[in-house]
């Protein structure tokens, strides 16, 4: 059952429940796996072989494995690092004074007006409710 190209599922570790393919056999205990899991050495006891077999050569690269996976309908793990999202952070008043005053002030005023409108709507609705109940 443990042969190159055999589709398996990992049953242990943080990749548990994910499908992978055996890419290389190191000895009677360890194999190299790739696919939905990370590309790494794995103990045979942590794998559960499935019924399917894929066309994959010995020592295949991650690109070959992902191409073979898309044929079956599975999606291999993406190895490219994600883009770092720049979160909007509030600046302190002391730092605002040193930086250019134009842009941060605009942002502040926008935020303030937004808050004010929200409060107004809430008050209006409360007033409407009270007037209705009185009537």
């Amino acid at each position: 059952m443990i042969e190159i190209g055999r589709l398996c599922m990992k049953i242990a570790g943080r990749d548990a429940g994910k499908k992978c393919v055996i890419v290389e056999i190191l000895d009677d205990k360890f194999v190299t796996i790739d696919g939905e899991t990370r590309r790494r050495k794995c103990n045979v006891l942590h794998l559960e072989p499935l019924d399917e077999k894929i066309d994959v050569k010995k020592g295949a690269s991650h690109a070959d494995v992902s191409a073979a996976f898309t044929k079956i309908g599975l999606k291999a793990r993406e190895t490219k690092p994600k883009e770092k999202k720049i979160r909007p952070r509030k600046l302190r008043r002391s730092k605002l004074a040193t930086k250019t005053a134009a842009k941060p002030e605009e942002q502040k005023t926008v935020k303030k007006t937004a808050k004010k409108t929200k409060k107004k709507t809430v008050k209006k609705s409360v007033k409407e409710k009270t007037t209705e109940t009185k009537k």
Partner: protein, 89 residues
């Protein structure tokens, strides 16, 4: 004298030696018990045991293992579930 509520056994008594040389008793709260596996009842590893105020300050990764069903099932129960998942499909 001691507050009446502190005489309860839910508080633990700790003997503390003060800088003045006296030994005084302090009353402290007990920690909660260890988390257990929801299926077999075994105590779980990789979980933290602290009072609520301290637990909130701990990051999420220090309170449970980074594994499917981490912090909920023990390793043997997760393995059994994964085998079922692999064999039924």
């Amino acid at each position: 004298m001691v507050e009446g509520r502190k005489k309860s056994r839910t508080f633990r008594r700790v003997k503390v030696k003060t800088p003045g040389g006296e030994t005084k008793v302090q009353y402290k709260r007990r920690k909660p018990s260890k988390a257990k596996c929801s299926e077999c009842g075994k105590p779980l590893s990789g979980t933290a045991r602290e009072l609520p105020g301290k637990m909130k300050k701990l990051p999420k990764t220090k309170k449970r293992p980074t594994r499917p069903y981490g912090g909920k099932l023990c390793t043997q129960c997760t393995r059994r579930k994964m085998l079922e998942k692999a064999r039924t499909k």
